[in-house]
């Protein structure tokens, strides 16, 4: 077991069991009467996935790279294929069952998620959404509890779909690791920037590791799918080479 100050291992590999010591705060700070100084001394620390609280410090529960964001957000960027539902995540689910008022969706988690037929934009008891078994649905978790069945919804708080709902008929869905999905969704990431210049296409990325792609032809769809799958193991230079090849083809 390693117990190190958290600022020393930022961006480095951490292992489960490691204890990260948070910078000493109010404990050894001199007592002060002014409120302002006490607020600045005691920051709210957010520990994201891969970290748990252990007393005053953080304990690592997953192996990966320790990430940090201002002011005090820490999480572990890990390689993982098993998806665990988290409230608020947008995922792609496959409808497996239609039973009465709810659909059962496979979301690549340990349990199937339920989706009410009323949780679609414009759906009423009389006007049911047209969802068939086998359809792909892009939705958001509204209940994700380790002891309960997860529940999806295809509308946001104000009843708008905002792109959620059944994904179009054609296209191709494949699975990648959760780490790659996060990489693809990071703002201004290279892969998406390069992908923009390849083919006209549409893609849906679910936080559960599923990606759905549709381009003009089946051939183009498969090319993009293969590139994205390969992105997991390609170095930046290799990837640039591949993308250059295809962006030339178009122009």
């Amino acid at each position: 077991m390693l117990s190190v100050p958290v600022q020393d291992v930022l961006g480095e590999v951490v292992l489960p069991g490691d204890v990260l010591l948070l910078p000493a705060q109010a404990a050894d700070a001199p007592l002060s009467l002014s409120v302002a100084s006490s607020v600045t001394k005691r920051m709210r620390v957010v520990c994201g996935p891969g970290l748990t609280r252990q007393g005053e410090d953080l304990q690592v529960t997953k192996c990966g790279l320790l990430r940090h964001r201002e002011p005090a957000v820490y999480w572990v960027d890990s390689h993982q294929k098993r998806y665990v539902p988290v409230k608020g995540d947008h995922v792609i689910g496959i409808v497996t069952m239609k039973s009465g008022d709810i659909f059962k969706l496979d979301v690549a988690g340990s349990d199937q998620a339920s989706l009410s037929f009323l949780a679609f934009e414009g759906a009423t008891k009389k006007n049911r959404p047209n969802v068939k078994v086998g359809d792909l649905v892009y939705g958001q978790f509204i209940v994700a509890n380790k002891d309960m069945e997860p529940e999806l919804a295809c509308i946001d708080g104000s009843g708008k779909a905002n792109g959620m709902g059944v994904i179009g008929q054609d296209g191709f869905m494949f699975k990648v690791s959760l780490g790659l999905v996060r990489k693809l969704l990071t703002p201004q990431n290279d892969i998406i920037q390069e992908l923009m210049n390849v083919f006209p296409m549409e893609l849906v990325i679910g936080m559960n590791g599923r990606i759905w792609i549709k381009a003009k032809t089946i051939q183009q769809t498969l090319i993009v799918a293969n590139i994205l799958e390969a992105c997991e193991y390609l170095t930046t230079a290799q990837r640039k080479q591949v993308f250059a090849k295809f962006s030339d083809n178009v122009q």
Binding site: R44, V45, V46, G163, T186, P187, E202
Partner: protein
């Protein structure tokens, strides 16, 4: 025996209708006894006081608050214009936390200028509604003056016919 006959039992004295006739001393005595019974029956936990410790670590199971993720639906090179519109909307929402900026960009059915123009004319219409017929003329004249077009109309009056 005679002394005891005059005394009433405690339970009887505790009754409501007997309270008035009690002298203050016995009243006090009874109250004390009652308190004792209550405090004996009440039980409490014999534990050391809990130390309240404020926690400054928030556990979060989601990546969403850690990284500002893009919206999961994308479309490039005009493949699906609907999604492209949505992309701009959703991705700008996460980036710009300043509400004011977004408000300026919002798609509105009626632009501010159009609304101002509407209201401008509306003021006149409503004003007309609340004026009597007689005053309307005056308002119209006012308007004419404002627009710098002098009416060449001569005020018409009733001329009494001459016999």
């Amino acid at each position: 025996m005679a002394g005891e006959v005059g005394k009433l039992s405690k339970n009887l004295l505790r009754m409501k209708f007997m309270q008035r006739s009690l002298d203050p001393e016995t009243k006090k005595q009874l109250e004390e006894e009652e308190k004792k019974i209550i405090s004996d029956e009440h039980w409490f936990l014999d534990l050391p006081e809990l130390k309240e410790k404020e926690n400054f670590i928030i556990e979060e199971r989601s990546f969403l608050p850690c990284e500002d993720f893009l919206y999961g639906r994308m479309s490039f090179k005009g493949f699906n214009p609907e999604i492209e519109k949505l992309m701009v909307q959703m991705n700008s929402k996460s980036k710009e936390e300043v509400e004011d900026l977004e408000e300026g960009k919002m798609d509105v059915d009626v632009s501010d200028e159009e609304m101002a123009r509407r209201y401008e004319s509306l003021v006149g219409t409503i004003k007309k509604k609340f004026t009597k017929k007689r005053d309307r003329k005056a308002i119209q004249e006012d308007d004419d003056e404002n627009s710098n077009i002098k009416s060449s109309k001569v005020k018409k009056g009733f001329i009494k016919p001459q016999d």
